[in-house]
Structures are given as C-alpha cells and as structure tokens.
Amino acid sequence: MSTSVKKLVTAIGASIAVMGAGHAAAEIKIGIAGPMTGPVAQYGDMQFSGARMAIEQINADGGVMGEELVGVEYDDVCDPKQAVTVANNMVNDGVRFVVGHLCSSSTQPASDIYEDEGILMITPASTSPEITQRGYEMVFRTIGLDSMQGPVAANYLISQEPERVAVIHDKQQYGEGIATAVRDTLEEGGVEVAMFEGITAGDKDFSSLVTKLRQADVDYVYYGGYHPELGLILRQARQADLDTTFMGPEGVGNKDINTIAGEAAEGLLVTLPPSFDEKEENQELVEAFEEKGEDPSGPFVLTSYTAVQLIAEGIEAAGSKDPFEVAEALREGTFETPIGTVEYDSKGDMESFEFVVYEWHSDGSKTPVN
C-alpha cells in the first residue's frame, strides 16, 4: 500500500512541477524513464528509487547552480513502442536530461529521438554495446557493457583450465550478447566450446538440454540470461545428477534464484559489479536509503543515483544548462561517484567498469572468488 501512496505523491508532485514549469524558471527537469509496470517492474523500482534519492539529496544541498532538480517519471513498460511515445512526451514536456531507459530494446529506439532533439541521456541499466556504437553525442551510461562482462567471465574460466565448456543463452538481447562475448573470448583462449545454443525464455522444461549437457561431458556451463531459467536448469540438472559448475552474468545474481533452485544454487559462479552498497565510502548513502525503507543493494539503484549526480555535476562543470555543453563536460571531466571514479570515452561508455567473480551460496549469500 505504501508504495502506491508514494507513487501517487510523486505523481502529484511531478504534475504540479510540470504545471508550474512555465512560471518558475529556476528548476531543471530530469526525466526518469523505466518500467513501473509489466514483468520487469521490479528492476524499474530500483531505478526510480536511486534517482529519487539523488534528486532529493542534491536539492537539499542547494540544487544545481542555485536551481532545483525536478524528477519527472515516465513508465515505458520495457516495450519499445511505448518507449518511443515516452521519448516524444519528454520532448513535449521540455525535459532536457534523461535517466533511462532500463531495457536495451527500449533504450535504443528512444535514444534516436534524444540524439535528434539534443537531449542528454544516461542509461543506468542498458548493457547492450549497440547503444553507444552509433556515434551519438548525447548518449551515456553508468553501467558496464555485455562485451566487458563476458570477457571477465571467460577469462576466469580460462584460468581454471577446463577442457570443454558449454555456453547456453536465452535468445534475448542481453543473454545472447554476453554469451557470444564469452564464447569468443574462450575460443581465443584456446578452450573448446563444446556447445553454443539458445533456449526459449519462459520455458519450464529443460530436461532435454540437461540430457544433452550430460552427454557433452563439459567442465563448465556458462549461461547468458536471467535467473528464472537458470534456476530451473540448475534444479533439473541436479535431479539428473549432472554435477558441472554453472556460471552466469549479473542477471542471475538475485536471491530469487535460491527460491527456485534451492540447494542446487550452491557453487554457482556469478559475475557482478562490485557491491557498491558494501563500499565504505557509501555507508552514509546506504543509511539514507534504509531510513526511507528502501533497499540500496539492487544492481541499478546506485547506478541511477550516479546518473543523476553526473547530470548535476556536468551542469556545474559546463556552467550551463545546454545539454550539448553538458555532454562535452561529461566527456572531459573526471567524477567521483558512489560507483567509483567515472571517466567517459568518446562513445559515452565508462573507461572502466569493474566486474568481480562471486561464488553464490544456497542461502542467498555470495563470496568473492580468489
């Protein structure tokens, strides 16, 4: 109940802000776009909670160049069609800075509009390399790329000197992207990829796949995708006495995998961004989240926080509210943020984004490997 009340309050706040926009010039609108409803709404919540916190804190500290930040929230349901409508609405509403979107398939068509309209966009969650590969000026992100995460996982596997590895993915943008990067790196490293194959996301029956994996006799199985499918694969593999080590990207590193896989989740390897909420310098921020009754440990909370902070600092650095100048300032500057030191390359990707290999346990905890 409390979340819906909160939503209502923010919605009212946002609409008052929009209505008042004509009169008060002393504010900067930040559009926040992500799924509030639909199957991935839980990830959208992380995004909104991080961005809201940053706006609140910056305003409490006196705003940006004396002006207040105002968050305007949009729901794109992670549907490419609605994302385009949302992007057009932002243009309408005079939003010049956007934090979003969440799903790569929404971010990509929306970013075409932002680029054309001169709106600065920072996505805190979309990891598809394609988004920043089109020579756009106004597109940034505060998260690593699939093509960065894959090699980290593959290099770890190579260091274990396996003979044969199977690489499975869920035939979706995120999963297949990482899985391809893993395969390529493994092959360069001289490891035999015995199987490279897709499954259908949303499927429940993986008995054939598990049988095939048993037959293939592999040392490791890498899975590119999300936790619902991997949880089932782990469980069905265990029932069929397949004892290979599985590995996955941050999309599987979620406590929900334990409720599905149970004991079978023990020993799963996961590459994750380092837990920002466990860093010492972020403890104050973590407490602020906990005071509000929100959980800062989700993968996109602090990246969204950082996105807002970068916009604010970019405006300060450029000394202007013009998005083009802010984009320039972001490219040139170095920023200290909760997710570490951020420096951008010419494409709008961070120069470095660290991933760490963790071992997952059946009680939902994780420990860094080596």
């Binding site: 385009v84 243009v91 068509p109």
Partner: protein, 423 residues
C-alpha cells in the same frame, strides 16, 4: 421458485469465495531463500467477502433485477429508430468521413508531439485492422497469425535499408508485395483447412516467423533487432538535424526555417494518414467489386457459393493475400516510425489485439474498425493512472463487450436495394 433461487445464489456465492479467496487471500512471498505464505490485509479479505455478498444478492433477486432493467427505457435512443434511407445514410457517411479526414489533416499542427506520435500508432493499427478485416470480417477466415505479415513488412524495410540502403519510398511497395507473397505462399496449402484448424495453423505460422527472425542472428540481428532504420524523406529532403544520406538535403535548411523535431513527427503522421486512407478506400472499392462480393458469399455459405461457380481457393487466397499486403504496408511504416525493430514487437498478443479491434468494431464494418482501433490504442494511454490494472481491464472489457454487444461498436450494414412494392 424462491427456494431454488436461494440455493443457486448460495452456490454462486460459495464459488465466488472459492475462486477468489485462495488466490487473493494468501500471498506467496519469498523470505530469504524460502517461500512463505502471508495472509492478505483486511481490506482484501473484506473485498472478497463483499464480492461474494454482491454475487449472492444479485443471483437471489436476479429475476426482479433483470426485469426492472428491461423495463427501463432504452438507454440508446437511436436503437429503435427506423433505419435511415439508404441514399441519405450514404451521403451522411461520406460527409462525415470527409470531415474526419480534414480534421485529421489539421489536427497535428495544433496538438502536442507526444499526441501526434500516438496518433501515428493509431493509424498503423487502423491499417492493420482494416487489412485483417478483409480476412476475418469479410472472408470469414480466422487468422490468428496476422502479425507475421506485419513482421515481414517491417523486416523487409529494415533489411533492405541495412544491406542496400533502400529508402522508405522504395521499400514501401516491396515490403507490402513481399508480405502479400508470404500470404499467397502460406495461404495456398492451408486454405483447404476449415475454421479452427485454420486458426491454429496461422497461429503456428506467426510463431514460426517470429522464432526464425529471432534465430537467424547473422541476417536479422536476432534478438538484437535492427536499428538505424531511416526516416522517410520528402523529395530527397531529410527531417533530421543533420543529413545522414549523401545527396539528400535537409528539410529545415531548404526552406530556411529553424530545425524542429516536430516536422519529422508530423510528416510521419501525414504519411501514415495518407496510407491509412488509401487502405480504407482501396478496401472499400474491393468490397463492391465482384471479388468482394465473392468473399462475403463464401463466408455466408460455402456450398452455395461453390455451386454458383466461385473457386473457393481463388477467393480465399485473394482475401488472404490482400490482407497480408496491407499488413506489410503497416509494417513498413512501423519500422520507419520506430527506427528500431526486434522480434518482441511481433508476438501473439499483438495478433490478438488486432483481432480484438476487428471484432470490437463490428466485423466487416470499416467505420467500426477505425473507431475500435482508436479506442483500443488510446484508452490504455488515458488509463495510465490505473496502469497496473490496464491489462486486467482490457481483458474484462473484451469479455463484457462480447457478452453485451457481440455485433461490435458499429455493426456492418448490408448494402441492399429495396425493390418497389407492387401497388
């Protein structure tokens, strides 16, 4: 009678409790790594009980409630009026249509950008629904995989532009023709199937196309989709801030006006409008041509139509192909509007929504289908505050509509000639 009513009402109330209490009253929550059961709040439980009581009372006094409802004067005062004279009605309808088109032409210059963009989407759905209307409404062939042809149109443009740099205007006819070709090739073997067998086969075909698009990563980009699809140009003038294609000029520079992103949105809207009007007019003409009559004849009575010398396969194939053609049209516009397409835009639910538009509008009726397309696309946007309940309401509305007004918003009126009575 009262005792029987009481028993029945009690039974219905109990059923209401049984189907709602376990699902609504207990929530499966994850606590750490295990699943636990939590009782729902008092409001939910009260709601469930209230629902049961309402069902009980309704069923108990069902006869008197329904009776008094029936005695109410007709809500729709037009329902019982005499049908208008044929010629008058036709004149009225064409004036109305002209006014609508003029309104649609002026409107984007006054409305906001987001609204125009949404209106473009509405027009795409209108094209799709008009096309499906030929297959389902006129020819009576149940097609559950219509979205496949939409996908063919969209992907044709995307692939042609990616590999050969083909522009929107060349891709538009190619996309539509290719979709029509797919319709022809699929239609040929399956059209001898009847009714529901046809439905499941077309559904399967739609899924096959989507999965193939998703799996042929090297050609279609698989789940990554295809991005960077160009916008339409106006005589070689581009609408972007910078000119992307060599040899083109930019719209705002040619006319010496300031750049505005609205130009592009409005231009796309106008293209969609023109294409939707073309679709509507073309289908309207076809309906009155022999082939259109043949569709309806076959729908009404297959055997009678055959005995009059109509070729069943040829007639069905023509409907299937023409329907697919317009889906290809719509697909090309969609790809251009989005600038990025991926297989997730072409799932079965999309087919179901287009079918729902056709049926809600009134099968065979063009005006009805246009109204329904507007309603189905815009209502969810307006109901954003209830966004969590959006799909729930959509599903319930589909059921209620079928129960209360199965003929659709504006049922098709048969064009008929009244013979003079002999005095």
């Amino acid at each position: 009678m009262a005792a029987h009513n009481l028993k029945h009402a009690l039974f219905c109330a109990i059923i209401t409790l049984v189907i709602s209490y376990p699902i609504l009253g207990f929530n499966l929550e994850s606590e750490g790594t295990s699943i636990i059961l939590e009782g729902a709040g008092a409001t939910t439980i009260l709601g469930v009980l209230l629902a049961a009581v309402i069902v009980f009372l309704f069923q108990l006094f069902r006869d008197s409630v329904m009776g008094s409802l029936r005695q109410l004067p007709a809500i729709n005062p037009l329902a019982n009026r005499k049908p208008m004279e044929q010629s008058k009605r036709l004149r009225l309808e064409s004036t109305l249509l002209t006014l609508m088109i003029i309104g649609a032409l002026i409107w984007p210059f006054l409305a906001s950008r987001g609204a125009v963009d949404l209106a473009t989407l509405v027009l795409i759905y209108i094209m799709l629904a008009l096309g499906l209307n030929v297959v389902v409404g006129l020819a009576g062939l149940l097609d559950l995989g219509y979205v496949a042809f939409y996908a063919v149109g969209a992907y044709t443009f995307a692939l042609l532009s990616q590999y050969y740099g083909v522009s929107f205007w060349f891709a538009l006819p190619i996309g539509a023709l290719l979709a029509a070709l797919f319709g022809l090739v699929l239609g040929f073997p399956v059209l001898r199937l009847r009714g529901d067998y046809l439905a499941i086969v077309t559904l399967g075909f739609g899924e096959i196309i989507r999965i193939l698009l998703n799996n042929m990563t090297s050609l279609t980009g698989g789940p990554n989709g295809i991005g960077g699809i160009p916008d339409p140009t106006l005589f070689g003038m581009e609408f972007g801030r910078r000119v992307k294609e060599e040899g083109n000029t930019s719209f705002h520079e040619t006319f010496g006006i300031a750049y505005s992103g609205e130009h592009k949105v409005i231009f796309l809207y106008l293209i969609a409008l023109v294409l939707a009007v073309i679709t509507a007019v073309a289908i309207r003409r076809l309906m009155r041509m022999p082939v259109g009559r043949a569709w309806e004849a076959l729908r009404e009575d297959e055997i009678a139509a055959k005995s009059l010398g109509l070729s069943r396969t040829a007639v069905k194939l023509s409907a299937f192909t023409i329907g697919a053609f317009f889906a290809g049209f719509a697909g090309t516009v969609f790809a251009s509007k989005q600038g990025f397409i991926s297989p997730e835009s072409f799932v079965f639910l999309e087919s179901a929504i287009i079918l729902a538009i056709v049926v809600l509008g009134g099968m065979g009726s063009q005006m009805g289908v246009i109204l329904a397309a507007i309603a189905v696309t815009i209502l969810p946007e307006l109901a954003r505050e209830f966004s969590e309940y959006r799909m729930l309401i959509f599903g319930a509305a589909m059921v209620l509509m079928m129960v209360w007004r199965p003929q659709g918003l504006m049922p098709m009126r048969r064009i008929h000639i009244e013979l003079k009575r002999q005095e």
